[in-house]
């Protein structure tokens, strides 16, 4: 089904290309007309939505094929596919909607499917809790989003994209209304795209089946926020304050999630934090006004992150459900296909040329450099951290000796590896869609998006700066890879369990070499501390409780109101009379 829709999308893509038109709007029917408002139920097909549709259907189809193998012995496989399809439908609705309301319906739909899919294995109460957490956090974001839509309606008297944007372009930059609208929309995007402070649901959401994590929490749903901001690029261009906030949030998220990822030992958690971090990257790009770059990174990220998740799924499958990377190792020989595809994805996410991640990440870094050196350094640091934990993951899982007794890892069946290989090819070559002029390309992808997304124009960097900016990260990244290799392969350092960490560190100091000491003093300790701090303190004691706290406060108020209902008739009568008396006084005074 999804494959079929991919074919349809591809046909649509080429027909739109050949017809040479920029966008097409399909109005199904006139939907709402109330209170002086007209909303058609319409779809908008332009280059942006086509790109998104290609990603959703393409990656989605591969993941569906993969799931046939992955879920084949689950008893509720039918409902799984039903929910996955519902998700794909909602996601398409989201990107194809021609006004904010249709977008919102898709938005809610993916939230709902996400809830169902995270809690798919509902027998485990923790999973149920994770599902609910995701849902609640998303609802907080949705609240901001719907307020944004309402404000849009309030300001422009319409919610159709084209009309809003036409009217908005006549407004001057920095108007309060626009700033408010963009801020509210941003809150929605923060929830859906898992940014600070609403990101904590995403790592927990890994409770769902791995294909779900791949489809929803890596490739598609979390990018909805990016898509929405890119779609509203005209509005955001008019709100410099919001853009700055986006940059701050994006870089903070990118760094923080990367640091947290350093110490995670669950294979999916590592990937989850890396997703959050990469989304932070996209937000930086958005904040810089480089919307097409953000969408480009979104595209490449969809390829390699889906691949990573599916690879992880394949590993978990092979290890019969084990997710702790400390217990893996030496899988390179047993699962060569998975290994090579995983390697390709890791190289891509680390930004090694000519893998896809290199092009998109490089573009973001360049643009960050243009904007401010500070953001550049932050982004670069994030990239290095990403590189480190990804190779740590790779080495721990695939190199060294097998550490789990009694497991007999085996390569996954063809129905699972074929999607892996296709995605690997995409991860490797996906970057060629948008070769910058430095390498003799002509930025096809950005040009393609230009009709739908209105990036801020930049003057461009000189050739030499660009070369330097390409080489510096590259050399640093190679260093980091080498370092990780020495630590995890040569020295075979295995991260200790959380409880034993202090005594373990003591032992290491006496036994290991120079590199290890550097690792411990310069890296392990501060970052370990920071990582632990971010994870345990910030995330667990500040952000989570803050979000939970709102819930708790409301529910406490709820108990209070409930206590009023004492069941005693006299009390009800008294309450009624008191109410009436107060209303009389109120009426007479007002």
């Amino acid at each position: 089904m999804v494959l079929l829709s991919f074919v349809f999308t591809a046909v649509l893509f080429f027909s739109l290309r050949s017809s040479g038109s920029v966008s097409a709007t399909v109005t199904l029917f006139n939907w709402i007309s109330i209170g002086g408002m007209n909303i058609p139920f319409a779809f908008l097909i332009d280059h942006l939505s086509l790109t998104m549709m290609l990603i959703i259907t393409g990656v989605g189809a591969l993941i569906h094929i993969y799931s046939i193998g992955y879920m084949h012995d689950d008893e509720r496989v039918n409902s799984f596919f039903a929910q996955m399809n519902l998700f794909t439908f909602s996601m398409l609705l989201l990107v194809m909607g021609a006004n904010y309301l249709v977008l919102f319906i898709g938005w809610e739909g993916v939230g709902l499917c996400s809830y169902l899919l995270i809690g798919f294995w509902f027998k485990n109460p923790a999973f149920n809790y994770a599902a609910r957490k995701a849902f609640v956090m998303n609802r907080i974001g949705d609240l901001g989003f719907i307020l944004g839509i309402i404000l849009i309606f309030f300001t422009f008297k319409t919610v159709t994209f084209s009309e809003v944007f036409t009217q908005a372009s006549t407004l001057s930059s920095g108007t309060t209304a626009i700033t408010l609208i963009t801020l509210f929309l941003l809150i929605g995007a923060l929830g859906k795209s898992a940014q600070i402070p609403l990101f904590t649901w995403l790592p927990d959401a890994m409770a769902g089946p791995t294909p779900v994590s791949a489809l929803i929490h890596a490739a598609t749903m979390v990018t909805a926020g990016i898509y929405m901001i890119a779609r509203s690029s005209i509005l955001y261009n008019l709100a410099p304050i919001t853009l700055n906030i986006i940059i701050i949030i994006g870089s903070a998220t990118a760094i923080m999630a990367a640091i947290t990822g350093l110490k995670q030992n669950d294979i999916k958690k590592v990937l989850a934090y890396s997703t959050v971090s990469q989304l932070g990257y996209m937000f930086i790009a958005l904040g810089l006004g480089a919307y097409s770059t953000a969408v480009f990174h979104l595209t490449t990220h969809a390829f390699f992150k889906a691949l990573l998740f599916l690879g992880a799924g394949s590993v978990i499958h092979a290890m019969s459900g084990e997710q702790d990377i400390r217990k893996m190792g030496g899988l390179r020989k047993k699962m060569p296909l998975t290994y090579f595809t995983f390697l390709a994805a890791t190289l891509a996410i680390s930004g090694i040329p000519p893998f896809s991640g290199f092009f998109s990440k490089d573009l973001i870094l360049n643009q960050a450099f243009e904007h401010s050196i500070l953001i550049y350094i932050l982004a670069l640091a994030g990239a290095l951290l990403t590189c480190f934990y990804m190779f740590r993951l790779l080495y721990l899982v695939f190199f060294g000796d097998q550490r789990l007794d009694g497991a007999h890892p085996h390569e996954s069946p063809g129905v699972m590896t074929i999607p892996l290989m296709i995605l690997a090819v995409l991860s490797v070559f996906g970057g060629f869609l948008n070769i910058p002029s430095l390498f003799g390309g002509n930025s096809n992808f950005s040009t393609f998006l230009q009709t739908a997304v209105f990036s801020k124009t930049t003057e461009g960097l000189s050739m030499t700066t660009e070369i330097v900016l390409t080489l510096v990260p590259l050399s640093l990244i190679s260093l980091v890879i080498l370092f990780a290799y020495r630590t995890f392969v040569k020295k075979a350092v295995i991260p200790a369990s959380d409880e034993a960490s202090m005594s373990w560190i003591g032992k290491i100091i006496f036994n290991k070499f120079y590199f290890d000491e550097i690792y411990i003093f310069a890296f392990e300790k501060p970052f370990g501390f920071l990582s632990g701090f971010l994870f345990h303190k910030v995330e667990n004691t500040v952000l989570d409780p803050a979000v939970d706290g709102i819930g708790k406060a409301t529910s406490r108020l709820g108990s209070l109101i409930r206590k009023l209902q004492q069941g005693n008739m006299s009390f009800y009568l008294f309450a009624m009379v008191a109410g009436i008396l107060l209303f009389i006084v109120f009426i007479l005074i007002v």
Partner: protein, 457 residues
């Protein structure tokens, strides 16, 4: 008018059929009768007929509401075939009383004289007092009945006193004449009239369970037999709001400012109390009682944002709400039977395992009540918000949206239970007819949400 006469006759016919001690024919007769009433009602469409010195006016507004209430009652009766199978005594009386209550509801949607409003409310209420106590041996049912009766009469006393005060000033019971009388004050009403109007409004607000006059509803909903609760939560609420709208927006426009402010306070309180108290409920019926209070808040929001489309939004909201609520109560009864009469939310555990399709449609209905697209519940809420915002009530709308978000949470308590495993495996028996009703309502909710956004008035 012929519909009104026919329903009263139908009630009496049902009473006589009760003498034959044959329960099986009651439901078919009642449903056929209601279908005839439906047709008779629709025949009056567009005529704006006035009867008996303008005592009642059957305009499109009242006919639309009547039709929606008849449809909901038919759904309830369809389920009644199964429900009353287990009951030995007084089955015919219960059917007849519901029909009589429906007659009262008709009067409430079409009155144009305060005496008809008063009689309508009473004809609706007295059968309900009795129906609430339908399980004679159960003390909970008795208590529900008495609480409803006591507080209801108390509210009626205020209502009457209010009518007396308004009559004293204006010397008439006719709404149009009262409107003309009030217009001469240019919004600066003397306190006596103001208090009279307030008392009248309180009398109606009590019937639709608007906070702070909601205290009866959780207790009565819980204690009353479940099918009666379903009737109360849907038909009574619809009728109450139709009457409310007729009173305020047709009779009193422009609303006196203090009264309007008082109504806004009630709206805010209902939203707050309904949604927050529902968060802590573990009893399904109480949960629905509080959520009904919350929905009253939303409907009030639509009503107070006076616009040409208010009536249509009101109709859409109440109909969609009823359409989702009745099947949920039906499912609740079926599940309750399978778990020895427990009423907590936990009894829904394992529903997905036992009846996957029913579980899916239950989810759809709950999702609709929670107001998540693409269901009709979302469209209804959305229309309310659009209406209130376009009329400039931004602050309260945002508050209502916040509360709607809270609302999602407690409906998903039930959803969570449905998809949770359970150890007790009593089979849930769902007859084909009941499954049909549930599925049909589920589909209707989705179809309405996607394609039909406005019901004709």
């Amino acid at each position: 008018m012929s519909a009104l006469i026919f329903t009263t006759v139908l009630g009496i016919i049902l009473l006589y059929l009760g003498l034959t001690k044959n329960k099986t024919i009651l439901s078919p007769v009642a449903i056929t009768g209601l279908l005839i009433t439906l047709i008779l009602s629709l025949k009056d469409w567009g005529l704006d007929s006035k009867y008996f010195h303008d005592m009642i006016i059957f305009d499109n507004f009242s006919i639309a509401f009547n039709v929606s209430m008849i449809i909901i009652t038919i759904i309830i009766f369809l389920f009644g075939i199964d429900y009353y199978q287990r009951m030995e005594l007084h089955v015919a009386e219960q059917y007849a009383l519901m029909i009589f209550a429906l007659t009262g509801a008709f009067l409430m949607t079409s009155f144009s004289n305060l005496i008809m409003l008063f009689l309508g409310i009473e004809i609706l209420s007295i059968p309900l007092y009795i129906l609430a106590g339908g399980k004679k041996a159960s003390f909970r049912s008795n208590e529900a009945s008495f609480k409803y009766f006591m507080l209801g009469s108390f509210a009626t006393a205020f209502f009457l006193f209010g009518i007396a005060l308004v009559y004293g000033a204006s010397a008439t019971f006719y709404l149009p004449e009262i409107k003309i009388y009030l217009a001469q004050f240019h919004g600066n009403l003397p306190p006596m009239v103001m208090i009279g109007l307030l008392f009248i409004v309180i009398g109606v607000a009590f019937k639709v369970a608007v906070a702070p006059f909601h205290f009866w509803s959780p207790d009565v909903y819980e204690g009353a037999p479940t099918l009666v609760t379903a009737f109360m939560a849907t038909v009574v609420k619809t009728a109450g709001f139709a009457a409310f709208y007729r009173l305020l927006c047709m009779g009193l426009l422009p609303l006196p400012v203090p009264l309007e402010k008082a109504l806004w306070v009630m709206t805010g309180l209902s939203l707050l109390i309904g949604n927050l108290a529902a968060l802590r409920q573990t009893n399904f019926k109480r949960l629905f009682a509080y959520s009904a209070i919350a929905h009253s808040g939303f409907i009030m929001l639509a009503m107070l944002s006076q616009h040409d489309t208010s009536a249509s939004v009101l109709l859409y909201y109440t109909f969609v709400y009823s359409l989702a609520t009745v099947p949920l109560f039906i499912i609740f009864i079926l599940v309750k039977r399978a778990s020895n009469g427990l009423e907590t939310l936990y009894i829904f555990q394992g529903l997905y395992k036992k009846k996957p399709w029913i579980a899916v449609f239950t989810t759809i209905l709950l999702v609709s009540l929670a107001g998540i697209p693409p269901t009709a519940g979302f469209m209804a809420k959305y229309q309310v918000f659009v209406l209130s915002i376009s009329q400039g009530y931004l602050a309260i709308s945002i508050f209502a949206i916040l509360m709607a978000v809270v609302g999602v949470y407690y409906y998903f308590f039930v959803v969570r239970e449905i998809y949770t495993e359970s150890d007790h495996l009593h089979p849930i028996v769902v007859s084909k007819l009941n499954a049909g009703i549930i599925i049909l309502c589920g589909i209707a909710v989705v179809v309405l949400g996607i394609f039909v956004w406005k019901l004709p008035i």
